[in-house]
Each structure stands twice: as structure tokens, then as C-alpha cells.
């Protein structure tokens, strides 16, 4: 399959990446190159194979459901581009 400019624009929005109009064509070409290359996996017979999500064959360990961290709002906000009164600030989202 082949990605067109509109699809690249759509993926860009899904990934929240602004893509200038003039870059869409080149990116579509590059992404098509990579996707065309990975399509070789279709040749592999994976009938009945369970997908591998993690190589660690261990079970996740249990721990007590208790608070182990927290109470440090200053540290949490220390790198925020904008913060006030213990909150992160973002552009207005409700009218």
C-alpha cells in the first residue's frame, strides 16, 4: 500500500506533529520506502504463533498497595514551562 499526502497529514495530527505542507510529499516518499521494506514480514508464516510482547518470561511481581512516593509538588513542577499555585498551566481549553 502507498501513503499519500493526506494520510501523512492525518498521521501527523495523530502524533501531534505539525508538518509543513511542503514536507508532506518528501515524507510520504520516505515513509513509503520504509513501509515497503517492512512488508517483507508478510512472507513469514506466523499461523498459530502467539505474539511476543515481552521477552522476560517472568511473572510481574506483587507489591503492597501503598503509597511509596509523593508529597513533592515543587519537584514535580520544577521543570514545567509554566506553572502556578501548584498546577501545570496550559492554554485555555474551555470557553
Amino acid at each position: 500500500m502507498s501513503l499519500d499526502k493526506a494520510t501523512v497529514r492525518k498521521i501527523g495530527f495523530l502524533a501531534r506533529l505539525e508538518i509543513p505542507e511542503e514536507d508532506l510529499e518528501g515524507l510520504a516518499h520516505e515513509l513509503n520506502g520504509i513501509l515497503g521494506w517492512v512488508e517483507q514480514l508478510a512472507q513469514v508464516d506466523t499461523e498459530g504463533v502467539a505474539p511476543l510482547a515481552s521477552v522476560s518470561e517472568m511473572k510481574l511481581f506483587w507489591r503492597k498497595d501503598e503509597v511509596t512516593d509523593g508529597g513533592m509538588p515543587e519537584k514535580v513542577l520544577a521543570n514545567a514551562p509554566d506553572a502556578a499555585d501548584g498546577y501545570f498551566l496550559v492554554p485555555k481549553v474551555v470557553e
Binding site: L31, V44, A53, V55
Partner: protein
């Protein structure tokens, strides 16, 4: 006395213990070397004050007879992907410029607690995405090696290129690296040092800027196999803060270095010798096989039938996980923010467009696409199934052999200028020999095996069973001795 910066980590450990020199003297020697070779751009930030303060504390501990462990007082570099409290951590991205973590990653904390001295944060490919260290927002890293017949600046490999260049050029006695598809092993091969990617789960990922969470693993980059064993012992161990951290016994890795591999069964995967394999690489590999035979090991051919599909599998899984992990850079909690005068979505989009570099954006887009509705099964799920087959190949092979020997990289180091021009897939092919072990979560080590005809380092890779770094290290040390690799980078020979 030999130059302090030429000592190995084991030499530093012994010299400090005997009182031949202090950690402050050693640290000062390294800081001077770092200053003298700034042009390699191996470090994004240096932290001389932190380093000297820790060196003084180490010397004071030692004077009181309270020295901590084998790395107490040893000056090391930390890849700028590990969060270090109060010291800028960027992942080589503009989007994290100025970010000062309020906490320390588990691995760097273990090193710190063991008394290691942090010299600075080493350069890397942006978010560890690259094989040449040419995607950093803070400039390319230049290898301390140059070819005999050509003065062109070469890449140190990637993504841990700054760590590799620093260790090779004697700008740190050892360094941390991280490896997702070869990012420790390939740069180690390109710079003539030892790089060990441990078993997935051996070192905690907590506090390491995430690239592809099911693949990322931290490990040591050192000048000798013994040093790798020492440093791994200081980096590894169970950590409740990382749910994928393995709760397995932590051996003394240096005890595995017995020098005896008689009766060891070594597998040579035939699929790693494709038509057109570089003849120098093939010759070095054959050389490695004879070293092992000479040492009493049995060498047999094995088959890993899905090897040729590993790279394509990786380039679905890694970008998919990256697109998800990198969603956190949104201009809200840390890092760059632009376009805040528009809507929230506009701010996200402008911040990310401006903060991420080209390769990172490319991988985010690929990852987003393969995870998007309608394509998830065809790409991502398919890749996870092929990944299962790749892991199964290794399990089968390890029923009959103890360790595998392969080349680390398909060529010797290439020029920076050429690297910037190649298309993405050609660049991805650098990881063709390292990616399969990553997908299977296995320990892999690259050691310098010799020089190419152009006088540049070539690496050999050993791959072991899960959590059997000991056999990998033991075998590597035997090969290291046989190889007698003593070449130092061109830079240190008074070369260009």
C-alpha cells in the same frame, strides 16, 4: 608512572587501593583530557564541580578505610539518556534542553552509591535513535579514530557514540550505554572498546529516557572485558521501580573470568554469513573461530532461520513503542514549549515539530501509522509474531550450544559526511547483526578483534543465554587475550 588516563578500571581500582594515586588526581587528569579533546563533542555537558566533589568524598572515605566497592573513586561518563539529579539530561534532543531531573536513575544511582565519580553526560543520537551519532541536536560526535589513508572524520557509531568515543579516547575510564538494537555494541566495535548489552531485565530501566521499552537495556562500555564485568556488577540488580526488572541472583561477574573455556560449545549462525558479507569482517570472524578452537572450545554451525526478518521486525516494534513513549513530550510538564498562544493542540503540534529532529519524527510517524486503526494487525501484531519466532530460533540453538559468535557490525566505521547522506534503510542495516539478540532479550557483547586494512577497529559479538552474562564474559576474555588488541585511537598517537 604510566599516564593515569591510560589505566583500565581494574587498574584504577588497584591503584586507588594501593594509594598510588587519589581519585582527585585521577579525576583532574580526566577533566584535563576532556578539555583538551572537546572537539570530539563526546560530552553534551561536563560537570567538573560534581566530579571533584565526589572524588574528594571518595578519597576521604578511603582514608578512613571505608572505601565502598571496586568503582569507588573511578571517573566515569554517563550517557545523556540517564536522568541525573540536578544535572541536565537531554537525550540529545532540543525538546529536553535545560531539563534538570529531580531524581536519579537507578543505574546511575547505583554507580554513585558505589562511589563512582560522574565526569559528565555523553552525547548520543537523539533519543538513542541512530547508528552513527549524527542525529544529536548537540552536534555530531567525532571518532578518535581516522583511517590510515584518509583524514576524513569518522562516526563513532551510535547511539552511544559519545560514551564510546569518551572511553576510547581516554576521556573516561568507563561509561554507561544503552542498547535498543545495537546502541552499545556497534559503537563499541567502531571505537575498539568492549560493550556489553546485558539480558533484558538485568539492569533497571527506571530513570532512563525511554525509547522502546521492550528492548531498551543499559550496560557498560569499557576498555577491557574485565572492566565490563566489574562495571556490570555495579549497574545491575533487581529494582522494584521497574516492573520488567528481573529478580534473579546477581553473581560476581569477575569470578566468571576463569580463562578456561575448554569444552565450551560455540555456535556459528550460518545466516549471519550472507552473500556479499564484507571480506574483512568474514576473515575476522574466521579468526575468532580459530581462537576459540585453540582455547579448547568446540565450534559448530547453527541455524537461526528468521535472522533476515529481524531488522524489519525491529523497525516496526521499536518505532511503535517510541511513538507511544515520546507522546509524553507535550510542552506541559517539562522541556520545550512553543505556540502556547494558540489552542492546546496547536501547542502540542508546534512544540513537538520544533523540539524533535528529523529521524525522531520519522520514527514517530512510522510508529503512529503501524499502531493506527486498520493497520495494527498487519504491521504491529505481525511483527510481534515474527519476534516470537526469532526468540524461538535462539532457544533452539541454545539447546545445543553455550554461546554464539558473530560479527558486531557489517563494516568498519564510515565517514560522518557520507553517513548524513545515506537513506534510512541503509543506515538501519548497520544493526543487522545486533538486532536479533535485542529482539530475543539476550546478552550480547562486542569486543575489539582487530583492525581493518584501513587501520580501523572491527568488533566480534558474543551472544549468550538469558542471564548468562558469565559465559559471555568468560569467552570474551579468552578471545580478548588471543586477539591481543593493543591499538589506541589515532588521536592518541599524535595523529590527525
Amino acid at each position: 608512572m604510566t599516564e593515569l588516563t591510560s589505566l583500565t578500571l581494574a587498574g584504577v581500582r588497584d591503584g586507588l587501593a594501593k594509594g598510588d594515586f587519589t581519585s582527585v588526581e585521577l579525576t583532574e587528569a580526566y577533566l584535563a583530557a576532556m578539555e583538551a579533546h572537546k572537539d570530539l563533542n563526546a560530552y553534551i555537558v561536563t560537570c567538573p564541580e560534581v566530579a571533584l566533589e565526589r572524588a574528594k568524598a571518595s578519597d576521604a572515605r578511603r582514608a578512613k578505610g571505608e572505601a565502598k566497592g571496586p568503582m569507588d573513586g573511578a571517573p566515569v561518563a554517563i550517557k545523556d539518556l540517564f536522568c541525573t539529579e540536578g544535572v541536565q539530561t537531554t537525550a540529545a534532543s532540543k525538546i529536553l534542553e535545560g531539563f534538570k531531573p529531580q531524581y536519579e536513575s537507578t543505574v546511575s544511582a547505583k554507580l554513585k552509591d558505589g562511589g563512582a565519580v560522574m565526569l559528565g553526560k555523553t552525547n548520543l543520537d537523539e533519543f538513542a535513535m541512530g547508528s552513527a551519532n549524527i542525529t544529536s541536536a548537540y552536534g555530531n560526535v567525532i571518532s578518535p579514530w581516522t583511517a590510515e589513508d584518509d583524514a576524513a572524520a569518522l562516526v563513532p557509531g551510535g547511539s552511544s557514540g559519545g560514551s564510546a568515543a569518551a572511553v576510547s579516547a581516554r576521556l573516561a575510564v568507563a561509561a554507561t550505554g544503552t542498547d535498543t538494537g545495537g546502541s552499545i555494541r556497534q559503537p563499541a566495535a567502531f571505537t575498539g572498546i568492549v560493550g556489553l548489552k546485558p539480558t533484558y531485565g538485568r539492569c533497571s530501566r527506571w530513570g532512563i529516557v525511554a525509547f522502546a521499552s521492550s528492548l531498551d537495556q543499559a550496560g557498560p562500555m569499557t576498555r577491557t572485558v574485565e572492566d565490563a564485568a566489574i562495571m556490570l556488577g555495579q549497574m545491575a540488580g533487581f529494582d522494584a521501580k521497574d516492573s520488567t526488572s528481573a529478580n534473579v541472583p546477581l553473581p560476581d561477574f569477575t569470578k566468571a573470568l576463569t580463562g578456561d573455556i575448554r569444552g565450551l560449545k560455540v555456535g556459528i549462525p550460518k545466516e549471519y554469513r550472507p552473500d556479499g558479507l564484507n571480506s574483512e569482517i568474514a576473515a575476522l570472524w574466521d579468526q575468532g573461530i580459530s581462537w576459540l578452537k585453540d582455547a579448547g572450545a568446540t565450534v559448530v554451525e547453527v541455524s537461526l532461520p528468521h535472522t533476515d526478518k529481524a531488522l524489519a521486525t525491529y523497525y516496526i516494534i521499536a518505532p511503535a513503542e517510541a511513538s507511544s513513549n515520546l507522546a509524553r513530550y507535550d510542552g506541559v510538564r517539562y522541556g520545550l514549549r512553543t505556540g502556547a498562544d494558540g489552542s492546546l493542540d496547536e501547542m502540542y503540534m508546534k512544540t513537538r515539530a520544533q523540539g524533535f529532529g528529523k529521524e525522531v519524527k520519522r520514527r514517530i510517524l512510522i510508529g503512529t501509522y503501524v499502531l493506527s486503526a486498520g493497520y495494527y494487525d498487519a504491521y504491529y501484531l505481525k511483527a510481534q509474531k515474527v519476534r516470537a519466532l526469532i526468540a524461538q530460533d535462539f532457544r533452539e540453538a541454545f539447546k545445543t550450544v553455550d554461546v554464539l559468535l558473530t560479527p558486531t557490525a557489517p563494516s568498519d566505521p564510515f565517514p560522518i559526511e557520507g553517513g548524513a547522506k545515506v537513506d534510512p534503510i541503509t543506515m538501519y542495516l548497520n544493526d543487522v547483526f545486533t538486532v536479533p539478540a535485542s529482539l530475543a532479550g539476550l546478552p550480547g557483547l562486542s569486543l575489539p578483534g582487530g583492525l581493518s586494512q584501513r587501520g580501523l577497529p572491527l568488533g566480534l559479538q558474543l551472544i549468550g543465554r538469558p542471564f548468562d552474562e558469565e559465559t559471555v564474559l568468560r569467552t570474551a576474555q579468552v578471545m580478548e587475550k588471543a586477539a591481543g588488541f593493543a591499538a589506541v585511537p589515532t588521536l592518541l598517537r599524535g595523529g590527525k
